[in-house]
């Protein structure tokens, strides 16, 4: 089938033979795929365990803050290249002790690079394996891990290690609360 005009007779039949053989070969390959296992994961309903549990341990989903072991050192806020985390530390005038008044992460702006998780000394801020959180209103993606008016005393490494909540649970609660309240 070569379109060049000077086509020798041998080349002519060679083309036919090539075409026939390679088509047969191709058909054999595609027919053999009919007997192989399809690899589609039929998320979200036809899978045994929800996908969050099966993802590998280092997967970088949305960010989550375990405020019990957060020392309020603002390392994550400085490490983030695009200022996605903003923390307000307030000082109680008389008792001279600081507390965290606001800890917001803008999940819509976060690019999941993981630099904040590297910078955190105690591992308070960490990635969950949550990935499916599409919303119709972008403000729902503002995750605030310290409620309005709540005063969180920063954790000092000398204190006894409090028992930590499971990874992924905090993020999921905040997301659900956002979805219910904002829209």
């Amino acid at each position: 089938m070569s379109s060049s005009t000077n086509l020798t007779l041998g080349q002519y039949f060679k083309n036919i033979q090539n075409a026939a053989l390679s088509t047969l070969e191709g058909m054999a390959v595609t027919f053999s795929w009919l007997f192989r296992r399809p690899i589609t994961i039929q998320w979200p309903d036809k899978i045994e365990k929800p996908l969050e549990e099966t993802l590998p341990e280092r997967t970088r989903g949305i960010l989550e803050v375990e405020t019990r072991i957060c020392t309020g050192c603002l390392a994550c806020q400085k490490a983030c290249p695009i200022d996605t985390i903003s923390i307000d530390m307030e000082r109680n005038a008389e008792t001279k002790e600081r507390f965290i008044a606001r800890f917001d992460i803008d999940a819509a702006k976060c690019m999941y690079c993981g630099l904040c998780v590297d910078a955190c000394p105690t591992g308070a801020i960490r990635h969950t394996t949550l990935f499916a959180y599409a919303t119709d209103n972008i403000d729902n993606l503002l995750l605030s891990y310290v409620d309005k008016g709540e005063k969180v005393t920063p954790f000092r490494p000398k204190d006894p290690q409090p028992e930590l909540r499971a990874r992924g649970s905090i993020g999921k609660n905040v997301l659900e609360r956002n979805l219910k309240s904002k829209n």
Partner: protein
């Protein structure tokens, strides 16, 4: 063939064009750049077949054009630099020497405002044709809207009380 002997070779052919040099290459007079590039490519010992990258750097008071040349057969490379004034930076196009300069110079014109004489088709490559200003210059202030379409969003991280919207300058 190391950088110093390459510079001497060029100095031999263009005695007063080669200005002071630095570790990986040399500064060159702006008017003679095209001739030097032609020489670098055609000379057998140098045989710089490829212009890897041609870009500009804004050093505050003046612009600096940087030409990275490399030769695949001889496995050596050279850097030519040219200093240009900030306001009307004009230089000859080396498109006739290496065809790749066509698009690289168009990008340099688009982002830095350097004008290239007898370039076949000098128009903006990255930005829309009616864009004001050249973004990569240090004194460039990014506009907050284009044809009436604003491209800044109220930063939710700042509670209502404090300052108003901030541009997404580096977002």
């Amino acid at each position: 063939m190391d950088v110093q002997s390459q510079i001497n070779l060029i100095k031999g052919k263009f005695p007063n064009e080669v200005l002071e040099n630095f570790a990986t290459g040399t500064f060159v007079n702006a008017e003679k750049l095209k001739a030097i590039c032609q020489f670098c490519r055609d000379n057998e010992e140098l045989s710089m077949q490829v212009l890897t990258c041609m870009t500009a750097v804004d050093l505050g008071d003046h612009l600096e054009l940087v030409y990275h040349l490399i030769s695949y057969s001889k496995k050596h490379d050279l850097v030519l630099k040219v200093t240009l004034p900030r306001d009307n930076a004009v230089i000859d196009s080396v498109e006739s020497v290496w065809k790749t300069a066509d698009w690289q110079e168009r990008e340099c014109f688009d982002l830095f405002g350097v004008n290239f004489k007898n370039h076949p088709d000098l128009r903006r490559i990255m930005l829309p044709d009616d864009w004001q200003g050249h973004p990569l210059r240090k004194d460039y202030t990014p506009p907050t809207e284009y044809h009436g379409m604003s491209h800044t969003r109220k930063n939710p991280l700042i509670p209502e009380g404090q300052s108003a919207t901030t541009e997404n300058s580096n977002g």
